[in-house]
């Protein structure tokens, strides 16, 4: 079957009633997660992993992807109404969106977010469909050395771009690799770093780490903020219709946001948050009246909200076609794939095209569902903001506990999860980014295997990693990224992170 036929056949999977139902559940949960503070898409996907063990893998992955891209839609609601981003990628939306709400245009701000998200999300899925096939074919020629270099560059890009300090990002990456090496060595069968704990022989379960770091850690931070920060909510009133003038002003930012967001999303390390930052900066620079920015310019909502959705679809490209995620949340998605015994990457397109294209095509349907949920039905989600946080946060902790306990009925695993929760809380406080840690944890074993295979083939000669043009090119990219970051650290500081802030 040729590629086009396989892509079309994917619709027969994604349009099956059961998969439509899971798409709907996923995007519904995603929107709710985006609206609710204290829990993000990574935590939500991690919590769904143990609950989804019994489900059909395609349906479960469709649902988790729905949560992943659906959260980008919901994140704007809190940004606009209470000036507190539901997700980090909606930070820029808060600047102009909240000002629009203060001027009585909350409805228009939410509408432009929904339309921008829909257009950006759909454009991103089209880009994903078009780009993943050639990239996958290119990746088929990779040997273990090239794979190792791809993963190394992805990790370097993630740790240099996430967080305030690249050194802390690198530290987090190394900690992720440390955790990944715990357990039985796959090639020799030797036990490594198990500290005499029997359950560590199979390694530390990815789900325990991710639920701890993201769900428990995030709740602890949210509890702290619950006592220290209070946001006043602006009531949503008026129509969700945009005026002709507002449409005219939003059209180009949405177009630019779609393209920029997708490109940024595909590149490792950047992701939805940086895409929205860049889009805001771009719109501000291109604006005919830049003085309107900061006072409720609709362009500053349309661009970033489009860009973050396009980026979330773009980030699926390296995950699906290379098997190498470029962000924290796609790393959690990779963990979910692996849990179902599915290894994303070029071979998956040949062995399980139904999973790949069923999942990708479900994102078209999911974006339509999200538009409906976020335009006429947004009033229902706004009600979620009235759920007392004092009840919501303990519930998330209980969900984390039951999710972990139900898998193996082991209380030890709960304590391990709590340990990672405390670690996640402390890391957030001291600005150690979690995305590089999770990414390194997910890629660690594959990385080591590729490294050892490449070194075995070359009789221990490390030149194997730069022997091919691709390896040399990747090494050059990696060195340039590191050199530029180091240069900024030593000579310019990091205050102008990416020159955007």
């Amino acid at each position: 079957m040729n590629d086009f036929a396989q892509i079309l056949a994917g619709f027969s999977v994604s349009l099956q009633p059961i998969n439509l139902l899971y798409t709907f559940i996923g995007v519904l949960m995603g929107t709710a997660i985006g609206v609710l503070p204290g829990i993000g898409p990574s935590a939500a996907i991690a919590l769904l992993i143990p609950i989804s063990y019994g489900l059909d893998p395609t349906a479960a992955l469709i649902m988790m992807a729905g949560v992943y891209y659906g959260a980008q839609y919901g994140g704007s609601v809190t940004s606009i109404l209470i000036n507190t981003p539901g997700e980090s990628s909606s930070v820029m939306t808060a600047i102009e969106g909240h000002q629009m709400a203060k001027k009585g245009r909350a409805g228009a701000a939410l509408a432009v977010s929904a339309w921008g998200s829909f257009i950006g999300g759909t454009a991103g899925v089209i880009g994903l469909t078009l780009l993943s096939v050639p990239l996958m074919k290119f990746a088929l020629s990779f040997g273990p050395a090239e794979y190792f270099m791809v993963m190394l560059v992805a990790l370097s890009a993630v740790f240099t771009l996430s967080g305030v300090s690249p050194a802390k990002g690198m530290f987090a990456t190394m900690l992720g690799l440390v955790i990944a090496t715990i357990g039985t060595d796959l090639q020799t069968g030797q036990l490594r770093f198990t500290m005499g704990v029997l359950s560590f022989q199979d390694g530390i379960d990815f789900v325990i780490v991710v639920v701890g770091l993201f769900a428990v850690g995030e709740v602890l931070i949210a509890i702290e903020e619950y006592f220290t920060k209070k946001g006043a909510m602006i009531k949503l009133s008026g129509s969700l219709m945009m005026t002709r003038e507002e449409w005219r002003r939003s059209l180009m930012p949405i177009t630019r946001g779609s393209i920029l967001g997708f490109i940024v999303g595909v590149l490792p390390g950047a992701g939805a948050t940086i895409a929205s930052l860049m889009s805001y900066s771009l719109e501000k620079n291109l604006a005919k009246r830049p003085e309107d920015f900061g006072k409720g310019a609709i362009e500053g909502v349309a661009g970033p909200e489009t860009a973050n959705n396009a980026a979330s679809s773009g980030a699926m490209v390296p995950l699906l076609s290379l098997g190498v995620p470029g962000s924290g949340s796609t790393a959690v998605m990779l963990g979910a794939f692996v849990m179902f015994g599915i290894q994303p990457g070029p071979m998956l397109f040949a062995t399980r095209p139904d999973v790949v294209w069923g999942l990708v095509n479900s994102m078209y349907v999911g974006n339509v569902m999200l538009l409906i949920l976020n335009l006429p039905l947004i009033f229902l989600f706004v009600r979620l903001l009235y759920v007392p946080t004092g009840l919501l946060l303990p519930i998330v902790l209980v969900l984390s506990a039951v999710g972990i306990y139900a898998v193996n009925n082991a209380v030890d695993e709960l304590y391990l999860c709590l340990f990672f929760g405390i670690l996640g809380y402390v890391f957030r406080k001291v600005d150690i980014p979690l995305a590089p840690l999770v990414l390194a944890l997910v890629l660690g074993k594959t990385m080591e295997q590729s490294f050892r295979q490449a070194m075995t083939i070359s009789d221990g000669n490390p030149a194997v990693f730069v022997k091919s043009y691709l390896g040399m090119g990747l090494a050059t990219i990696g060195i340039v990224i590191l050199a530029l970051t180091l240069y900024r650290t030593m000579f310019k500081g990091r205050s102008t992170k990416l020159g955007l802030s």
């Binding site: 440390v178 929760g421 205050s495």
Partner: protein
């Protein structure tokens, strides 16, 4: 200050990890062996700590970075500590008390710690949510959650 603590702890982790790597038995058939990759990770840990030191002590760092490091505050540490301790106690009670009862108690206690004005609502939500979750997991998802001596 926070950065110096991170560097200190990081150094201990790197040293322990590297030492543990030297203890891994090697086999004859594998030219690279199970130690090489951990050694590289130890090196990476040390490099990241060195980089952190450059950021922390480098002459050209911005004053802003020093401010950021100094600004780490722990305003509600006693509440966070209580939540962590309470969660640990809850985990310990799941099997002896059973999931529904321990979860109800935990939810009620924690929601009351966060907002003591809504005692009745907290109690109703705690009991109803715990019971629904128990039935969802045992009846629908076919998981095995302990019911506890009282209900068995």
């Amino acid at each position: 200050m926070a950065n110096i603590v991170i560097m200190g702890v990081g150094l201990i982790v790197a040293a322990l990890y590297c030492f543990a790597a030297t203890q891994i038995p090697t086999t004859a058939g594998d030219p690279i062996g199970p130690r090489t990759f951990p050694y590289l990770i130890s090196l990476g840990l040390l490099l990241s700590l060195g980089w952190m030191a450059v950021e922390q002590f480098g002459k050209r760092r911005l004053a802003q970075q020093a401010d950021e490091a100094a600004l780490v505050q722990w305003p509600k540490l006693h509440v966070i500590g209580t939540v962590i301790l309470g969660t640990a106690v809850y985990y310990a009670l799941i099997e002896p008390l059973g999931f529904p009862l321990s979860t109800s108690l935990y939810l009620f206690a924690l929601s009351t710690l966060l907002d003591a004005r809504r005692l009745v609502l907290n109690a109703v939500v705690a009991v109803c949510f715990s019971a629904s979750l128990y039935f969802l997991f045992t009846l629908v998802l076919k998981s095995n959650l302990p019911i506890g001596a009282i209900f068995s």
